[in-house]
């Protein structure tokens, strides 16, 4: 297995050998516009024929999806909390006059389609690949379900699908494809198409990036001093994301890692860890067979 060498700020599709004049495409999710309707979650499931992910009531605000996973490729987080320091100037805050200092942040999370993608780096079968759009996609018919990618994602996005026998793609690694099949037909990904408030915007990544910067500047001028972009910086630990976000507070508030670093940057270190893990596994297997 060879590690893809990525030069910061370069086009990952080109580096992966695509020889087409196709700009890198991605998402800009502006959480300041999200109304938590979950149309993105449903549209994604409808288009990608993803199985139902459990009829469990979680009792966490209005979130019964819980997290991104093999059968939830968009996840809308609902964060109910007191406005830190009683600030009332974010769009999601109630008025101080109301005696309320509550805010309810909603944000639709998705695979980041990293420039340096850990999942892709560790995939032994080549099932995970870089598309001409610069996105990262699993090929279901190649994936052998080894699960290396699961550990390699710094965001915990990719997962192996669980479920009863007969469930579509059960056992295989599954995640957002940025609707690769729609993109090749010139269509917008299902979530962005369904989003009523344009919280999810799809397009040419460099255009999205400048749009995102204008938007965050405006919000900051309007007094949302905590507004920031996430995943827009090609110098960050993943070489910049193909799906960036406008957040109204620290990433941790939304359950996002503040400084994600692709694990394969420390590849040597990682293989050492993996070796130890494999050894442990062998001992475990031996012990299990003795018990038989």
């Amino acid at each position: 297995m060879s590690k893809t060498i990525v030069h910061l700020g370069l086009d990952p599709a080109k580096i992966s050998g695509w020889d087409v004049a196709q700009p890198r495409m991605g998402f800009f999710t502006d959480t300041s516009l999200c109304i938590g309707c979950k149309a993105c979650e449903v549209a994604c499931k409808e288009w990608n024929e993803i199985p139902e992910d459990g009829l469990d009531w979680l009792g966490i605000s209005y979130d019964n999806t819980g997290s991104l996973g093999a059968s939830s490729w968009r996840h809308v987080a609902f964060i109910e909390q007191a406005v830190p320091g009683g600030r009332t100037d974010t769009p999601s805050s109630a008025s101080a006059l109301d005696g309320s200092d509550l805010r309810w942040l909603m944000s639709s999370d998705v695979c980041k389609h990293c420039t340096e993608a850990g999942c892709l780096d560790v995939c032994p079968t080549g099932s995970l690949f870089r598309t001409e759009f610069g996105t990262v996609v699993v090929q279901d018919d190649i994936c052998n379900g080894c699960g290396y990618c699961v550990a390699a994602c710094p965001f915990g996005v990719i997962e192996r699908r669980t479920g009863s026998h007969g469930t579509k793609n059960v056992g295989l690694a599954q995640k957002c494809t940025l609707c690769y099949d729609r993109l090749v037909s010139g269509m917008t990904p299902a979530c962005a198409q369904a989003c009523p408030t344009e919280s999810i915007q799809f397009g040419n990544l460099s255009e999205l990036r400048s749009r995102a910067r204008r938007r965050v500047e405006k919000l900051q001028l309007d007094g949302n001093r905590a507004a920031r972009l996430y995943g827009d910086d090609p110098n960050d630990g993943i070489g910049g994301a193909g799906a960036m976000f406008l957040l109204l507070d620290q990433p941790e508030v939304y359950g996002l890692p503040p400084n994600p670093v692709v694990a394969t940057r420390e590849l040597g270190q990682m293989w050492k860890q993996a070796g130890i893990a494999a050894l442990t596994f062998l001992i475990g297997a031996a012990a299990a067979s003795i018990e038989r």
């Binding site: 199985p51 009829l55 909603m106």
Partner: protein
């Protein structure tokens, strides 16, 4: 709005991006509040106190739009001298009849009426409920005087343009709301004075010549025993601020289904015919002529003068060649009503064994209607029931899995109801139109054939009609003639599916004679009273003008003007804003450049602008009608409200509303709060039903109210649709909100030991239900009159049954039936209750729990049902 109308909410986010300020008033902090600039938590059921407070603020601080109020509203009109306000009789208006629990509204009329009556003019009587027409469905709209009713022609209206006469509308309004001060608003609604004044400032600062404010509500606002008066309250504010008939103004009703507006225009209501023509009553014996005379004065003012053309064209569309002048155009074939035949009345009749068969279409009353328990019990008393739906909803399976089977009140083997289930096609599987809240018809095209036996409504009704006609074709019984003679010949396609556009064409109407014979009508002004035109619904005429289905127009916004006339089709006449004459000043000039919409073009001597003028095109602003004018000619060039006989917007409603000319704060049927404004606790004209299956909790200050100390409200979540028939059967929606839960504040959770994620039991006089507990700071306890009042939030999507993917108790089981007197809508957005930790008992034990509460509260059939608090006390 973000919760229930996320797609429409995109325009709110768009407006916000452009600088609009969004204020959200709701008992709970919702997804809408999260995006709003300000959320204001209000006690459920206290909205008129807030609206009245705003009216008081506007008047006392002189923030009203003076010229608009003076010229376009009835502010200066003098009311009869014997009118008494609620300020005079502690919560009642003059004319209250304690025996009937109803008002005689004679004293609310314009001064001059008594003189006209004395001069022998047509009597302007009251309570003639069978003869009303309403623009928006149901009974209770203004009649006899004003809105589409009898003319004011014989009356000289007295007015005082200085607005100082103590009996002019403006002064009555001022006195009526004088005690709705910021302190009183806080005491009653729980809204702190600071937040209240912030609303007042925002609304008034953003209204005037250069700016407009709109009020947006969802239909929960009408689900109160004073529901119509809530909307009237908003209407008064908007008239005072000049926000009606102007772009960016108005009161926008967000409706619960895609075509609810359509189902009042072409009604599923019992008391109106298409186009708001009143249903004839059994007491009318004088045929078509008598019907028309009862609705139109000889000198009718305004646009209802052509009612005869609309009615005859309607009859021609039903009975075609069989309808002719000799037989009164088959007028006698129409069904006649003789009282309240509304849905709740019908269910009570079912309970009492008076109804044999029932058809349920796209509704799930076993879950979605108030006192849903009564609904299910009533279904068990039928001989037969037809349910047309996508899924086997609880209303179709009550006989084997309803909660009453569990309590052993019902035994499957004892239920004789034969249930017929017809699977329905979805909107993507059929052609047709939706009429949304802007009165806009939007066509939808079939994408795929419906699967299996699923069929459209059109198919069902058409084929059923053919079968019945076949059965009756040789009948000599006159009662069968209306069906025998019915025109029923739509072209069909595959599987006998009628061509939907053929139906729309029939609704549009066509010329039956003359040189245009066979051509579609272009406008309702082409309709004739002589049988030479047909048309199924006069207000929809023009939707198929020139043979084009205008409802199917979808020109993108960027390719047309900002008013977007080529996006769908809006009745009447593709007019986007009603009463838009009010967007210009009395001289016909726009109030401001920024808000220019319709104006008088001097050079061309006609009205013009961005929209279709809602005014006679060539009537100059300075036109004044001669004394003997009738019809539209009787309205002056500065009378924008052309459907009212006085051409004015009504701050004060002299007629047409059964529970008072001005909105007044009354407590809900069930409330732990004593009315701080009047001795009269509740709406004295509300409809109550004293029945053992419809008991009420006691209200403060009556004894026993503390047994049900909390307020609860119900609502929808984005993830589900109403009673769940369209969502609880789908995995992708069910997984998003899989279980029934109650929303409570941390303070109430502590008070009642409710564990987050655990269970709670909620009890009213009707029943007890259980829900998972969601403790959230989005629900806040309120301080009402010095006392802490807790509110509980209950989404109402779940029902008990075995067919859906997710099931649960129904919040609507908790409500009883108490109705608004105007439109018979149920109070289902507020009641009182108790809440306890843990799950409810099952089986007969559940009944025992409910009974023990009733005993503790001392509940009888009379509890909570006294109408006039004062009269009762006097006895």
């Amino acid at each position: 709005m973000a919760e229930c109308h996320p797609v429409g909410f995109q325009w709110v986010t768009e407006a916000k991006k452009r600088g609009a300020k969004i204020i959200h008033i709701d008992p709970r902090f919702t997804r809408t509040s999260a995006l709003a600039d300000q959320h204001v938590s209000i006690r459920a059921g206290s909205d008129i106190a807030l609206l009245g407070g705003i009216i008081n603020y506007i008047i006392e601080n002189e923030k009203y739009f003076e010229e608009y109020v003076l010229e376009y509203t009835n502010a200066s009109t003098i009311i009869q001298s014997d009118f008494k306000d609620t300020e005079d009789i502690d919560g009642l208006f003059s004319g209250y009849n304690p025996e009937l629990g109803a008002y005689d509204n004679e004293s609310w009329g314009y001064r001059g009426i008594e003189e006209a009556a004395a001069a022998g003019a047509r009597e302007l009587s009251v309570n003639d409920q069978e003869h009303q027409i309403s623009m928006h469905g149901g009974q209770g709209a203004a009649h006899k005087i004003g809105s589409q009713g009898k003319s004011l022609s014989d009356i000289s209206i007295h007015s005082d343009r200085t607005l100082r006469d103590p009996m002019c509308v403006f002064q009555i309004l001022r006195r009526h709301y004088s005690r709705y001060t910021p302190e009183m608003v806080e005491r009653t609604t729980g809204i702190p004075q600071g937040a209240f004044l912030e609303i007042c400032r925002a609304v008034t600062e953003n209204s005037g010549k250069d700016r407009t404010t709109s009020w947006v509500y969802s239909v929960g606002w009408t689900h109160h025993s004073v529901g119509v008066q809530y909307i009237r309250g908003a209407a008064i504010i908007q008239l005072l601020l000049g926000n009606i008939g102007r772009p960016g103004g108005g009161i926008l009703a967000l409706r619960g289904h895609a075509s609810i507006q359509g189902s009042t225009d072409i009604p599923t209501l019992y008391d109106i015919l298409p186009g708001y023509l009143p249903m004839p009553s059994a007491s009318m014996t004088a045929g078509l002529k008598g019907y028309l005379e009862s609705l139109m004065a000889a000198k009718q003012k305004g646009f209802w003068a052509n009612l005869d053309s609309y009615m005859v064209s309607f009859l021609k569309s039903y009975w075609g060649d069989a309808a002719n002048p000799e037989n009164d155009y088959c007028f006698s074939y129409l069904p006649k009503i003789n009282g309240d035949h509304g849905t709740y009345r019908t269910v009570m009749d079912m309970m009492d064994g008076k109804v044999e068969g029932y058809m349920i279409f796209g509704e799930n009353p076993a879950v979605g209607s108030a006192n849903a328990r009564m609904q299910r019990l009533a279904l068990s008393k039928l001989k037969w029931l037809v349910v047309r739906d996508f899924n086997l909803i609880e209303s179709a399976t009550f006989w084997k899995d309803s909660p009453e089977i569990a309590t052993t009140e019902l035994e499957t083997s004892d239920i004789a109801t034969e249930v017929f289930f017809f699977p329905a096609a979805s909107q993507a599987e059929k052609d047709g139109s939706f009429t949304q809240t802007q009165r806009m018809l939007q066509w939808h095209h079939k994408a795929v054939d419906p699967p299996g036996d699923c069929r459209s409504e059109l198919h069902f009704f058409y084929q059923l009609g053919l079968k019945i006609k076949e059965l009756l074709k040789d009948s000599k019984n006159p009662r069968d003639y209306p069906i025998r003679d019915l025109t029923w010949d739509y072209p069909t396609t595959k599987n006998g599916e009628p061509v939907a556009e053929a139906v729309l064409k029939e609704i549009n109407g066509s010329h039956l004679a003359g040189e245009k014979k066979g051509k579609l009508l272009a406008s309702y002004t082409e309709m004739k009273p002589d049988g030479s035109t047909s048309g199924g619904c006069w207000i929809y005429t023009g939707v198929f003008a020139d043979g084009i289905n205008h409802a199917a127009k979808r020109k993108p916004g960027q390719d047309q003007s900002w008013v977007a006339p080529d996006w769908g089709w809006v009745w009447p006449a593709n007019r986007r804003i009603l009463y838009n004459r009010a967007s210009a000043d009395p001289d016909g000039k726009p109030w401001s450049e920024r808000k220019a919409y319709i104006w008088w073009d001097e050079a061309q001597a006609k009205w013009t602008g961005h929209d279709v003028p809602d005014f006679e095109p060539s009537k100059a602003p300075w036109y004044r009608p001669p004394d003997d004018a009738v019809g539209p000619d009787a309205l002056a060039g500065n009378d924008p409200f052309i459907m009212q006989a006085d051409g004015k917007g009504w701050l004060f409603a002299p007629a047409g509303i059964k529970d008072g000319p001005l909105p007044t704060h009354y407590e809900p049927q069930e409330s732990p709060v004593t009315n701080a404004l009047y001795a009269q606790q509740k709406n004295p004209a509300r409809q109550v039903f004293k029945r053992s299956d419809n008991l009420s909790n006691p209200s403060a200050p009556a004894e026993g109210y503390e047994v049900y100390p909390y307020v609860f409200t119900t609502y929808r979540l984005t993830e589900h649709h109403t009673a769940g028939g369209m969502s609880r059967f789908l995995p992708y929606l069910s997984e998003l909100q899989p279980e029934f839960f109650c929303e409570v504040s941390p303070e109430l959770a502590a008070e009642r030991n409710l564990r987050p994620g655990g269970w709670a039991t909620i009890v009213t006089a009707r029943t007890a239900i259980e829900a998972r507990v969601l403790v959230t700071r989005r629900i806040k306890p309120l301080r009402i009159d010095g006392k802490i009042i807790h509110q509980i939030g209950l989404p109402y999507h779940w029902g008990v049954g075995n067919q859906a993917l997710v099931a649960g108790d129904s919040a609507n089981d908790l409500f009883g039936l108490t109705l608004d007197p105007n439109v018979h809508i149920q109070e289902s957005k507020v009641s009182s209750c108790d809440i306890q930790p843990g799950r409810r008992p099952t089986g007969p034990e559940l009944l025992n729990l409910v009974a023990s509460y009733r005993r503790r509260a001392g509940i009888t059939q009379d509890t909570g049902n006294e109408l006039a608090t004062n009269y009762e006390a006097d006895k």
